[in-house]
Chain length 206, copies 2
DNA sequence: CAACAAACAGTCAAGCCTGACTTTTTCTTG
DNA sequence: CAAGAAAAAGTCAGGCTTGACTGTTTGTTG
C-alpha cells in the first residue's frame, strides 16, 4: 500500500489508532455473535479470531485471556443495549396505548439476541467467580439504567408507595418472558401477556 | 454376602434391581449437583462418576454419552420439582394472605438450586439441538403442570377473560425473579415485589 | 454347585482448547 | 529515508475431556 503524503504528519497518525479500534470492535462483535450462536462454552478464542478475521496473535495482543475477551464483550454489549433501547424509546407513540407500546419495546428488547448473549454471560458468571466479579457490577449498572429509563418512559412517580415495586415487577416479568423465549419462541403468547399487564399497569398507576 | 434361602427365589431377585436403581439415582443426583455447582460446561462425566462413587465403566453402562446422562438428569429433576411444589402446596395457610403465601412458594421454588440446575440445562439446550429436542417437550410438560397447580392454588377461574394471562404473567415474573436471583441473591427485594404483586392479583381477580 | 450373563471397574488414545513463543508486517521518529 | 517500536500473524506444546476397550466381580440359572 501507499504510505501517503509526508507533508501532513497528523493524517498519518490516525490510521494506526483507527485500525486498532476497528480490530477491537471486530473481535468484540464476533465474540457476541459466538455467544449467541454457540453459547459461552462453545465460544473458543480460536473460533472468535477466525470469525473476526483477526489472527490469533493479534487477538492475544488485545485480550490476553478468554475471560478478558468476554468481559470486554460485555461492556460492548452494554453500549449496544443502551443504544437499542434509547433508539426504540425515541420513536414511541404518545396516545392511549402508550403503556402498551413501552411494554412492547421492553419485551422485544428482552427477546432479542442481545438478551441471549447477556444470558450466556450471566449464566456463566454464576459458576465462575472471576467472571462474576466483572459482570456483577456491570449488570447492576445496566439494571439501574434500565429501571431509570422505564420509569421515565412510563412517566411514573416513584414517590408513591408501591410504584417502584411495580416497575421492578415489570422488568422482572419481561426478563422472565425473555428467558422463556430463548427455548420456545412464542411472540403471540408474549403479546397477550403484555396486553393484560398493560391493562393492570394503567389501572394501578394513575 | 449371603445368598439367602433357596426356597424363596423372589427374595433373591430384588437386590440386583435395587442396586441398579440406587446406582442410577446416585448418578443422576450427582449430575444435578454438578450442574448447580459448576454449570453444564463444568460438568464432566468423569467428575460425575467420581462424585457419585460410581466407576466410569458403570456410568457408561447406564448412560453411554454425556447427553444421555444429562437428559436423564432432567427427568429426575422434573420429579424432584413436582414433589417439592406439591409438598409446599400442601402446607399452605388458608386466610387473608393466601395469595401472598402462594407467591412465596412459587418465588422460593424458582430461587432454589433446582431452578439453577434447570436453568443450566435450559441455557445449554438453546445452542445444542440434540439437547433441545429432549428438553423442550419435557419443559413444556412441566410448564403446563406448574400452570395447572398455580391455577388450583390461587383458586382462579380461567374462563374469565384475562385471568389466564395473569397466571402466565405471574409465572413469568417468578421466572424472572429466579433468574435475577442466580447472580445477586436478594430475598428482600423479591419479597417486596411479591408483596406488591399479591396486591395486584387480589384486586384483579375477584 | 458350576457355568453363564450382566453389572461394574479401570485404563487409554484421539481430539480439542488455551495461552506462550517466534516471525513478519506496519507505523512512527530522528 | 532509515532505524526502531508496536501491532499483527502464525506455530506449538501442555492439559483436559470424551468415550471406546479390556478385565473383574456379582447375581442368576440349570
Amino acid at each position: 500500500m501507499l504510505t501517503g503524503m509526508a507533508s501532513s504528519p497528523a493524517s498519518a497518525r490516525v490510521p494506526q489508532e483507527e485500525r486498532t479500534r476497528a480490530m477491537r470492535a471486530r473481535l468484540l462483535e464476533a465474540t457476541v455473535d459466538c455467544l449467541v450462536e454457540r453459547g459461552f462454552a462453545g465460544t473458543s478464542t480460536t473460533l472468535v479470531s477466525e470469525r473476526a478475521g483477526v489472527s490469533r496473535g493479534a487477538q492475544l495482543h488485545h485480550f490476553p485471556t478468554k475471560n478478558a475477551l468476554v468481559v470486554a464483550a460485555v461492556e460492548h454489549l452494554t453500549e449496544k443495549r443502551g443504544a437499542e433501547l434509547a433508539e426504540a424509546a425515541a420513536t414511541l407513540p404518545i396516545g392511549p396505548s402508550h403503556t402498551r407500546a413501552v411494554l412492547q419495546v421492553l419485551g422485544d428488547h428482552f427477546a432479542s439476541p442481545v438478551f441471549a448473549a447477556a444470558l450466556e454471560l450471566w449464566n456463566a458468571a454464576r459458576t465462575d467467580p472471576a467472571l462474576l466479579a466483572a459482570v456483577a457490577p456491570l449488570e447492576q449498572r445496566v439494571g439501574r439504567e434500565t429501571h431509570r429509563l422505564t420509569v421515565e418512559l412510563l412517566g411514573i412517580d416513584e414517590s408513591v408507595p408501591g410504584n417502584r415495586e411495580l416497575v421492578q415487577a415489570t422488568l422482572d416479568l419481561v426478563r422472565g418472558l425473555g428467558l422463556a423465549n430463548t427455548i420456545g419462541n412464542d411472540a403471540r403468547r408474549r403479546g397477550r401477556i403484555l396486553d393484560r399487564w398493560a391493562e393492570v399497569l394503567e389501572r394501578e398507576i394513575p
